[in-house]
């Protein structure tokens, strides 16, 4: 499988009208949204700890706007922890903390003036196991992140329908939006969770092994979706599956024992890695 180098060679077959994007976004203060869609994330000298145990060791990495970056590495190498530091979910774990900078478009998400809920609205997250809210219908699941902004009924419905279209669920579920989200198949549930994430219109989507609980067909569907979504969002995907990284990612980062070993264009990481450890991992000699 030869990975793609650039985003431009992908044919965009988007049948839906483009999602309406608000003119301003709020992090600290209102500001103009630049023409370019999506914002990059840069991680600078990040350390993360569980109690006294330092599990992320001084990582610096750029996640360019509107690109897909894959993070690969063996279990326990700190891949998930890194992305959980980006939307500050890491600190939800008791005794866990992080230091360093994670900048979204120049603003440090750890700045004391930054509200953590804003960080998470701008940097969405999709989890390993599909986790729709069991008490909610399909519609309410997608609307769950929007309702707290006081969005009105009409706007809410449009946004939910739009999000369902973007993940290709609309045709499958439009006639049963009131049924429970947990009644869907695993792959559909995961796409529902992606719809829930993009409904709040984030800049960045973090995906923590989003296909590891899915069958190959559902996996393929999600991978196609990632290719479509990167036009609008910056995507960081943690994966155990190297073929998946090769298929979806523009750049790939290899982590080992909490350190970033190598980061470069996906083709280079898989064909001409610079570091011997990367080579051993991608050729299946360990991990």
């Amino acid at each position: 499988m030869i990975p793609r180098d650039t985003a431009s060679d992908r044919q965009v077959t988007e049948p839906d009208p483009p999602i309406s994007i608000p003119q301003t976004r709020i992090i600290n203060e209102e500001r103009e949204r630049p023409q370019q869609r999506g914002h990059g994330v840069s991680v600078k000298a990040l350390n993360a700890y569980y109690g006294d145990n330092r599990t992320i060791k001084n990582i610096s990495i750029e996640f360019p706007a509107s690109e897909v970056t894959a993070i690969i590495g063996p279990s326990g190498s700190g891949k998930s922890t890194v992305i959980r530091c980006i939307n500050r979910m890491h600190e939800e774990i008791p005794r866990a903390r992080a230091d360093g900078r994670v900048e979204l478009d120049g603003t440090d998400v750890y700045d004391s003036r930054v509200d953590v809920t804003h960080v998470r609205r701008l940097i969405g997250m999709v989890f390993q196991k599909p986790n729709p809210f069991p008490t909610m219908s399909i519609f309410d699941n997608v609307a769950s992140g929007l309702k707290l902004t006081g969005m009105r009924k009409r706007g809410l419905r449009d946004r939910v329908n739009q999000a369902l279209r973007s993940v290709g669920l609309w045709d499958e579920v439009h006639d049963r939006l009131g049924t429970p989200g947990v009644a869907l198949s695993g792959g559909q549930q995961q796409r529902l969770c992606i719809a829930r994430t993009i409904a709040v219109e984030p800049e960045v989507i973090l995906m923590d092994e989003p296909c590891s609980a899915l069958d190959p067909v559902a996996t393929l569907r999600i991978e196609e979706l990632i290719g479509e979504l990167k036009e609008r969002y910056t995507i960081v995907i943690v994966t155990h599956n190297m073929q998946q990284a090769a298929r979806v990612a523009d750049t790939t980062a290899f982590m080992l024992d909490g350190e970033l070993i190598e980061h470069g264009p996906t083709a280079q990481i898989f064909t001409k890695p610079r570091d011997e450890r990367t080579e051993r991992y991608v050729t299946g000699k360990f991990g």
Partner: protein, 297 residues
């Protein structure tokens, strides 16, 4: 290949030790089954004897009429049923919100050592003999004042609180971590996560705990002996600032009476009480099952 004949198969070889093991196994199984059956039998025996002894005095008018004046035949326990409903209702209004809030605090907000201490304290509170709770409230609210429905309700609320709070803690802890994470990752604030995700998901279990608490205190007698047991009013008492007649104390008083008809009436009152508790338990069970299914998702 099939060279092993059925008779020589090592699967069929029986050593003497194996035989002994089988016998011990069988005996243990029988003893354990008898113990389990004894519990069921005991329940049936208690309910059965109450039914047999109480059914004769039970009638529609027994439920709908107030007690007859002293020395006259007839009359019912309507005033006690209403009083018990008032006492338990007020106790529930106090204990259920506080109990659920305790559960939310320890499951969602408290650091684990505080959660553990609260849990331990609730277990101790649950173990306090209810007569002690009664005496405590007697000293606090009755001495210098008088017996009242309020005092009785507060005493019952103290008995109820640990039951509601502990079951709320347990059921809230069952709400999967992944749902919290999903909600937090959408940028929901913590209290919104609790209100919109955690509580709806755990609702069935919270109701179960509350109903079990109600069922437990509906029959409590000791906390009421000091706080709401001296009532001369034979009619329905609506104001909780007076002592409220109630079923458990009525059973106690009737059973102390020398008159055999009063004894029969005590059994009938007990039958009503046990029926109420049974219904509450079945309601709790239904919510429990529903909530389990939902949490397993």
């Amino acid at each position: 290949m099939g060279a092993v004949s059925p008779e020589t198969s090592p699967l069929l070889a029986v050593a003497p030790r194996d035989r002994r093991r089988r016998v011990v196994n069988r005996i243990m199984e029988v003893v354990a089954s008898i113990a389990a059956l004894a519990a069921v039998a005991l329940l049936l025996l208690v309910i059965g004897s109450v039914v047999v002894k109480g059914i004769s005095a039970l009638s529609f008018s027994f439920i709908t009429q107030n007690p007859a004046p002293f020395g006259q035949p007839g009359g019912g326990i309507a005033n006690s049923i209403v009083g018990t409903a008032e006492l338990v209702g007020i106790a529930s209004l106090i204990a259920i919100p506080i109990g659920i809030l305790i559960g939310i605090y320890t499951a969602e907000f408290a650091p684990s050592w505080i959660g553990n201490s609260v849990r331990f304290s609730l277990d101790i509170l649950n173990g306090v003999p209810t007569i002690v709770t009664g005496v405590f409230i007697f000293g606090l609210l009755v001495v210098g004042s008088q017996q009242s429905g309020w005092a009785g309700s507060v005493a019952l609320a103290i008995v109820m609180l640990p039951i509601v709070a502990r079951s709320a803690q347990e059921v809230l802890a069952l709400v999967p971590r992944s749902l919290h994470e999903a909600a937090l990752a959408l940028g929901l604030k913590r209290w919104r996560v609790v209100l919109r995700i955690v509580i709806p998901t755990a609702a069935g279990g919270l109701v179960t705990g509350a109903v079990l608490g109600i069922a437990r205190v509906a029959g409590e007698t000791a906390p009421l002996l000091f706080t709401s047991s001296v009532f001369s009013n034979l009619g329905i008492t609506t104001s909780p600032s007076q002592a409220l007649p109630n079923i458990p104390v009525t059973i106690f008083t009737l059973s102390e009476s020398p008159s055999p008809t009063d004894h029969a009436r005590a059994w009938a009152a007990a039958l009503i009480l046990i029926f109420m508790v049974l219904v509450l338990n079945i309601v709790a069970r239904t919510f429990h099952d529903r909530s389990r299914r939902r949490l397993r998702g």
